[in-house]
Structure formats: structure tokens, C-alpha cells
Symmetry: C2
Subunit: 110 residues, 2 copies
Amino acid sequence: MGITKSDLFTKQQNELANMAKAIAHPARIAILQYLLKKNACITGDLVDELGLAQATTSQHLKELKNAGIIQGNIEGASVCYCINPKIWKRYNTLFNAFFREVKDSDSNCC
Amino acid sequence: MGITKSDLFTKQQNELANMAKAIAHPARIAILQYLLKKNACITGDLVDELGLAQATTSQHLKELKNAGIIQGNIEGASVCYCINPKIWKRYNTLFNAFFREVKDSDSNCC
DNA sequence: GATTATAATCGTAATATTGCGATATGGGCA
DNA sequence: TGCCCATATCGCAATATTACGATTATAATC
């Protein structure tokens, strides 16, 4: 096999897992952090920043775009990327809800 | 290739990416949610809960244990699992820091 | 001691991810 | 039009992930 059995889980569980997958690579974390810092930038900036090949960088950007967490606007010959604040807030909300406080007393094993 | 170039990124970026990877599967989300609800349970409970084979469930438990987010205590013939509150809090802290507020005005592309 | 229950591990197949060179596409400019 | 620049996409190789049956290891029970 090798295919996730999504049908066994709730919509919410699949959504959160997919969100986690979108950021489950250091290059994609680095892209998002760079966009947070610079507000916006073009692909070439990220190729320089990351140190990965242009094709690889483009692929990571595609995954982030598919997840909706960034958006790209065509700017002449370049493409300008930035965070999508609406989706970003949804990530923030869902992760916060998931990682709600755990009391130490909650976790005494059996 | 197929191997992540971890050396290109900071320790913090790799750590956050690895945390995201640990929860980047709906079965592992479901396990954590079940543990949050029940406080603690044994492997067999999770096999019933998830609907995945025993071997598969055990594998997901191993990944969560490797990530440190859960711990297992041997309880006779069974193994009792629970959240590791220390690591859980670290996850909460790092994800919160990452998903800090983004102002709408921050994300006007170019 | 043999049997049963519980869970980890092994081996393997299917699929997904990561990375990059090569190639395509489309805009700007001489 | 012809030539560069910036990106996306294709094709491929290496590796990782997901899933499960079979096996193993240990503990409880008869």
C-alpha cells in the first residue's frame, strides 16, 4: 500500500494533518519565515535564500500554494509571493485549538 | 535523491518541521485526540478506535514516541500510552510562536 | 509447561516525497 | 523578430511513508 486511509478519519483530522504536512519540511518553514520577515518576495529571492535548486524551490512553493497558505501574483517576468492572511489565521486557530493546555496531572499513564 | 537537505536550514527550522511531520497524519492526530480525551489508554484501544491494523497502529505509536510527544508504560501484558506534557507544551509554544499574528496589511503582494 | 493475550518488529508492496538537470513558457528589451 | 531573464513543469533517481500479514517476545492464565 502506501496510501493514507483518509476515509477512516474525520474531516477535521484530515484537515489538520494536511496543514501539518504543508509545513513539515524545513525549506517550507524557511519560505514562510522569510515571507513573514520581508512581507513579499519573488521566487529568485527564495532560491538564493534557501540554497536549493530553482526547480526544487519552485516545487516547495507549489505545495505551499496548493495548501493555500501563500499566494503568488504575476509581476512582469517574475512572480511575487506573500502569505495568505485568511488561511494563515485558520492554521493559527486550528493548531491553537489542538494544542490546548494539558495539565500535568492529565498525563499519568495508567 | 529524496533526502531532505537538513544542513541548509537552522536547528529551529528543522525542529519545527519535524514536529509538524510527527502530526502530519490523520491517524496520529486521532491518537493524540483520543489520548487527550481519555487521558491514557492501551494499544488495543487505539487499534479498535482507529480501524487500522495492529501493526500499522503500532508503527504510528512508535513515531509519536520517537517524537517524544507520547510515552508508554508497560502495564502487565499491555502498554499504556499517554501524552508527554513537557513535550506537548514545547509543541504548543513553538507552533504559537510560528503562527504569530499576521496583519492583513502585511500581505499585499508587491 | 502449554496456551492465550498483547504488542513490537520484520519483510514486503504500493505510493509519496525530495531533489535536480533539462526543457518549456512567457515577459521584457534591443 | 530575436535574445535574455524568471519560473514552471517534466522526467528521473533516491529515499521515505503507509499499510498489513506473519512472526516474535513477553506476560498472564490454565
